[in-house]
Amino acid sequence: MAYVHSIWPLAAVLLPLLATVPIMLSGRSPNLRESWTLLAGGGMFAIVASMLPTVLAGGGFVLTLAEVVPGVPIQLRVDALGMFFALVASFLWIFTSVYSIGYMRALEEHDQTRYFASFAVAIAATIGVAFSANLLTLYLFYEVLSLSTYPLVTHEQNAEARASGRKYLTYILGTSIGLVLPAMLIVYQLTGTLDFTHGGILAGKASPATLSLLLLLFVLGFAKAGVMPFHGWLPAAMVAPTPVSAFLHGVAVVKVGVFSILRVVFDIFGPDLLRNLDLGVALTYFVSITILFASLVALTQDNLKRRLAYSTIGQLSYMILGAGMVSAAGMTGGVLHIAMHAFGKITLFFCAGAIYVASHKKYISEMDGLGRKMPITYAAFFLGALSIIGMPPLGGFLSKWNLLVGAVQSHQMVLVAVLLGSSLLNAAYFFPIVYRGFFAPAPAGEAREGIREAPLFCLLPLSVTALCSLLLFFYPTVFLQLVQRALFP
Amino acid sequence: MQGIIAEIVAKYNYWIYVVLMMIGFYAMIGKRNLVKKLIGLNIFQTAIILFYVSTGVKRGGGIPIVDKHAALTHGIDPATVVNPLPHVLMLTAIVVGVSVTGVALAVLLRVYREYGTLEEDEILEKIGK
């Protein structure tokens, strides 16, 4: 693949980063501040989208910033896999910004300037991860993302939020410093490079035992992917304002974790190596535990956002599962699920936030009959849930179907069972919410007259993302092409 | 036993310096009075000075001050003079030692003014309060 030297990848990363300055300076004038946010969001998406045709045509962009370690520069590179992720993230950021405005203003939150500034840094780091050309650059942006989301998690500043912030950092920083950093160094020591190379760089460089250890370190170390046992931060982080949960813990942060693992699996290890050493199978079994267990736990959660969090944990492992299958369909499904799940899950979180804004309710058991008051929100929730469960005609079906095919192709009937069982569980924890919202009688003795749909700024984004989930089933071409380019150039 | 004694006698200067050094070391660690610690430090330094100076000594060597003209005409027989370099070095070391002692005493004055005592135990007690 031919890479063209270009400033655009850097521009995509720098734009939101630089936007923090005017955002912070215009803290006294919320309208101006939010305009900056939206402007940065739109601009970034435009930049990312402008690079899309070249990538689809088989090209790419590259930019070296500084050679910090011999053989490992800080380098940005736009390839198909990165473009895939960046497209999803930058597109959804626009809606999240709009949603944030509605949400934060409706709740009259404090410290909104810090909130929007941190948010901008976080999206910059996310795009940075997507466009990283090597493991060191990826690690750099990964850490920046961890740090920039910390103020968002701790936003409430009460004891619970601080405790969650601590937990968040303990998990995320602890694993990245404790596991990824040594693993990365060992890879560097073995190969002398950290470049993402199609087909991997580790083949024949180390004993199977070392390689297995490395894979374990990476999969556990990128704890943002929420693979058990390092998943505990995600439910804890739900104390953050809902747009944060929606975007960061539905899309950006967690997907960065998955994306990092996929990068390592595809471009550091290489599918062939995994297949030869049977590491892929081990990986799939390992994450299967997370899939089933997280879905089971989700059933027991009464707090809506926590249920969504556990659902996310389970879904994230789908993507790793797909990569671990190392069959064409499986890998396609895994990568595709990043996008499909992103659109679905962000809709669900938006809905949860909208319900909270409208009624200040957090617990599912209190939400009986709410759907009749807020039909649009609940309809969107229904669509999002269907997509996550994997029902046609929604985007989620495509990825799950590919995963199933992949499992069958690789003759892993256990995985087929896992996928089907998990989908059933998904249905089991999502449908009751919708059912209770529409059909359960409102609890007696509760004044509900004031409750109606959330403000337009909240309602609009969630409707759009829900519709996108639907559209993705019919028009997945762009994403499919990118996946094809990424996996089989 | 004979061998050990012979060894000690033959290198008595080293043994003396080791013994002195240990005395100083003990004073620095064992004594609770700060001035005694400082004296221990001085003994310690003196031991090292002794060690250096004794290394320059030669049997039958004289003072390394020679007449200019004699030296220019006849040269100097190294066997007749002790090695002056260690002495010169120790001159510097002594100056350093004096400076350290001076600073230490000045610091001790401040300690005394602060706590009214130079016994470490009592000072620690006062800090604890």
Binding site: - | I65, L91, G102, A106, L109, R110, R113
Partner: protein, 159 residues
């Protein structure tokens, strides 16, 4: 012990006419000798350190025989500090001057460019200047060490 300290403070101890007279006589000679040692240092045993110590000792002797105030009256702390500083400045200044004149640091032969003399002569003179500087510095340090310590640091200077 307390008593002794008390008496020492009232300066009842040591005020002896014999000692004071003897010191009065000796101090000029001691100082002269100190100067001799400094001046002759680059040629024979002696030098800035030793001469400086002797000079300093003469002030200490005054302070011991009389009292601190008397010795300070003769040679105030301010003068002392200035002389000490001037000594070091002289020493480093000479060294630096050599360097500025194109030689190496402390390479006195470079001073030829100021007054044309035989480089060997200049070496001798240069080390002499340095010795004077060192002597001044050591003298002032010795004196102020004693003053500060014996006055329990109550002089206006000190730590």
């Amino acid at each position: 012990m307390k008593q002794v300290q008390e008496r020492a403070r009232t300066r009842a101890v040591g005020e002896s006419l014999i000692i004071q007279t003897a010191v009065r006589l000796m101090v000029p000679f001691i100082q002269l000798f100190g100067l001799y040692v400094i001046v002759h240092g680059h040629y024979s045993p002696g030098g800035g350190f030793q001469g400086g110590v002797i000079l300093g000792a003469s002030f200490i002797l005054t302070a011991v025989a009389f009292d601190l105030q008397t010795s300070l009256k003769r040679f105030s702390e301010r003068t002392n500090a200035i002389m000490g500083n001037a000594g070091v400045l002289l020493y480093t200044g000479v060294g630096l001057l050599c360097a500025l004149l194109g030689g190496l640091f402390l390479d006195y032969s470079a001073l030829v460019r100021i007054i044309p003399m035989d480089p060997v002569e200049w070496r001798s003179l240069g080390i002499f200047l340095v010795e004077v500087g060192v002597g001044l510095a050591v003298m002032s340090i010795m004196a102020s060490l004693y003053w500060d310590l014996s006055s329990r640091g109550e002089l206006d200077e000190g730590l």
